[in-house]
């Protein structure tokens, strides 16, 4: 066991930093529990005079209809982009062909484009293929722009699986699909968890695509969260309550799968 540092000191530093990290959460929590006329920048630190759940009630009633939209969006988009990323990673690490490294580089570059710059052609494209204002349209967009990072993560993940495993399977007569199903896939569970967490969080919190591609009844929760604010009066108690509610699923994912996340990172993008 490493005992590099005096434990009490480590605990002290971690506790101090932990408290500092929780300060914004405190502000959100306190604000969300106030009635609106009590909310102002000047009294942001004060705990509420009486705890008031009106903010939560309103946020919940307004966000609930969009919650399911986000579920319909996030689940398929996450799984599809993970599946495609995994296949790509498999091909690019175990079935290299001439120029495959260049293909990988070209795929990866897609990760870095500022999305505002492709918004207009994207919208026209989505409309032309008849997917405007639909969840499938949004799924398509998230799957496509998720491909670079999922491909990257899986490719690096699979680079750590020894080629000898693939070789011996080939000797046993397994083909491309068979090797994927019987050897690669079972080894990629942690890889899938990492990619899924990453994609889940990103897609859940994404706003720009959501607001341009969908409207009214099709909108995901993050757009609805923004819609809680009017153009003139912003009820911060409702906003903060909404933000905390909207963050619950991602938070839950982190707490439940946090261990896998780290374990998967270890086998995955770490080797970037």
């Amino acid at each position: 066991m490493a005992k590099a540092f005096a434990r009490p000191l480590i605990y002290l530093i971690l506790v101090i930093l932990g408290v500092l990290f929780l300060v914004p959460v405190y502000v959100m929590l306190v604000t969300s529990l106030k009635p609106f006329d009590e909310v102002s920048i000047a009294t942001m630190w004060k705990p509420p005079a009486h705890i008031d759940f009106a903010g939560y009630a309103e946020a919940f009633s307004k966000l609930a209809p969009n919650f399911m939209n986000t579920i319909y969006l996030v689940v398929p988009a996450t799984l599809l982009s993970a599946l495609l990323g995994s296949l790509n990673g498999y091909v690019l690490s175990k079935w290299k062909f001439k120029g495959s490294d260049w293909v990988f580089t070209a795929i990866l570059f897609g990760m870095f484009i500022p999305y505002q710059s492709i918004l207009i052609p994207l919208l026209q494209f989505i409309r032309n293929i008849g997917l405007y204002n639909s969840i499938p349209g949004l799924i398509l967009v998230h799957v496509v722009y998720g491909l670079p990072i999922t491909t990257l993560m899986f490719r690096n993940f699979y680079a750590n699986i020894p080629d000898s495993l693939v070789e011996s399977a080939q000797i046993d007569g397994a083909g491309f699909v068979g090797i994927y199903r019987h050897i690669i896939m079972p080894l990629s569970i942690t890889g899938f968890v990492v990619v899924a967490i990453w994609q889940f969080t990103n897609i859940w919190n994404e706003f720009l695509f959501a607001v341009t591609i969908t409207s009214s009844a099709q909108q995901p929760i993050m757009v609805a969260l923004q819609n809680l604010a009017g153009s003139q009066v912003v009820e911060w108690n409702v906003q903060m309550a909404g933000a905390l509610l909207a963050a619950l699923p991602t938070l839950l994912v982190y707490i439940l799968l946090g261990k896998y996340f780290i374990r998967g990172l270890l086998a995955g993008s770490v080797k970037g």
């Binding site: 799984l79 409207s215 003139q232």
Partner: protein, 426 residues
């Protein structure tokens, strides 16, 4: 073991594909563009609070008259309408306009008109006998080449000075009528340790509003309007005088102005931390939401030296070309322009009606006074809200203002405005 896990993963993915397929088939029934849906889409950035309530009241009233027309309330929030405008722009360019959309009267509307994207509404005005029901200055703001292109729904006033009544009473002060008054009052307040003027210009346009108010005061309504047509140049002495006053004013504002949104600045006045605030009369809605009362807790006068002038911010709706059921849209526009419609919407939003013949008793005391002024005053378009000049020019003015507020260099400021104004004559 691994095989089973693998199978499990495949099962999950298949499920995902099925789910995706499900939601696909579901939305292909209701989704797609407006032309397929045959619904009346009303596009706005009214998503919450009084404005959303007002819109709902309006839609309800319309629904009573035309129960067969299906309405889709498409409100896009965020950034004081900037998200909505982004979505609108992309939709218009993609040839899929919403049935009707919220747009500020004046330059913002005219950009769409000049782009050939809007239908003229003269026949609708004639059919409904609307001639003379709206002030002429206002109709000018929604007209191009002698044709009318939109129906104004609401009016907000941009030249209002809000003040904390208690501070003014405690210090024996009167709300300023001239800029000399203003600086006298401000000096006294400053000596007492009270911030004289609250500004929250995190989003820059708030400062631009203050400046346009001073411009209006110093140029008068006619020259102010000519500024935006290029007839009065920006190196006019009156513009320089306005810039000098603006600069002086900046000595009396809260130090953290660039960190605050306008609501926060209004809150400073509400809390008695600052005495005055120059803001559009949507600030009234904010005071009300915080439980403050007009003429008791806070007062409102026109900004100094703009008596008899009314800086107009108006939301209007028009008929885009190429919508599937223009007749339905016209019915809705008729509702918007009717006394019933305007009286359903405006009291809830806290604005005043664009028509001058509506039921005054439905409005609060502040609005009653504003409605009177609206009838008699000279109406001028607001620059900060895209009514006076195209957005591309406004973007440059905002940039100049933002730099000026920090650097306080009048000569550079005037030069930047002049450079930007080359665009106006296009």
């Amino acid at each position: 073991m691994f095989k089973r896990l693998g199978m499990f993963a495949i099962a999950v993915l298949v499920l995902a594909a099925v789910l995706a397929g499900c939601s696909n088939s579901k939305s292909s029934g209701s989704g797609g563009s407006s032309s397929e849906k045959g619904k009346l889409e009303i596009f706005s950035w009214w998503t919450a609070g009084g404005e959303a309530d007002g819109l709902k009241a309006l839609i309800d009233d319309f629904h009573k008259k035309y129960p067969d027309i299906k309405i889709e309330n498409e409100a896009v929030a965020g950034g004081a309408g900037s998200n909505a405008k982004a979505v609108l722009a992309t939709r218009m360019q993609g040839g899929d306009p919403p049935s009707t959309f919220q747009v500020h009267g004046g330059a913002e509307l005219l950009t769409w008109v000049k782009a050939g994207k809007m239908e003229a509404l003269d026949s609708l005005y004639k059919k409904n006998g609307w001639d003379g029901k709206f002030p002429k200055d206002l109709i000018d703001m929604v007209s191009y080449n002698g044709k009318i292109y939109a129906v104004p729904v609401d009016i907000h006033r941009g030249n209002v000075l809000w003040y904390n009544k208690k501070i003014f009473e405690d210090n024996g002060l009167e709300p300023p009528k001239t800029f000399d008054d203003f600086f006298k009052v401000a000096d006294k307040l400053k000596a007492k340790g009270i911030t004289p003027l609250a500004i929250g210009d995190k989003d820059v346009w708030e400062s631009t509003m203050v400046f346009e108010n001073i411009l209006l005061a110093k140029l008068g309504p006619d020259k102010y309007r000519q500024l935006w047509t290029g007839e009065v140049p920006f190196d006019d002495p009156a513009v320089k005088e306005a810039a000098d006053i603006f600069k002086k004013m900046l000595n009396y504002v809260n130090a953290d102005h660039s960190s605050l949104a306008w609501q926060d600045a209004t809150q400073l006045v509400a809390d008695g931390k600052a005495a005055m605030n120059i803001m559009g009369d949507w600030a009234k809605g904010y005071f009300t939401s915080k439980g403050l009362k007009y003429d008791q807790d806070y007062g409102a006068v026109v900004t100094p030296e703009t008596d008899g002038m009314f800086m107009v911010i108006t939301d209007t709706f028009g008929l885009p070309k190429g919508v599937s059921k223009p007749d339905q849209v016209k019915k809705f526009l008729t509702e918007l322009g009717s006394v019933d419609g305007q009286d359903a919407f405006n009291p809830k939003k806290g604005s005043i009606p664009a028509r001058t013949d509506t039921d005054v008793s439905k409005y609060d005391d502040y609005s009653k006074k504003a409605m009177e002024d609206f009838k008699s005053n000279s109406l001028t378009p607001s620059l900060a809200h895209g009514s006076a000049a195209p957005e591309s020019f406004l973007t440059k003015v905002n940039q100049a203002v933002n730099i000026f507020v920090t650097q306080k260099n009048v000569a550079n400021f005037i030069q930047a405005l002049k450079d930007a104004s080359s665009q106006l004559k296009q």
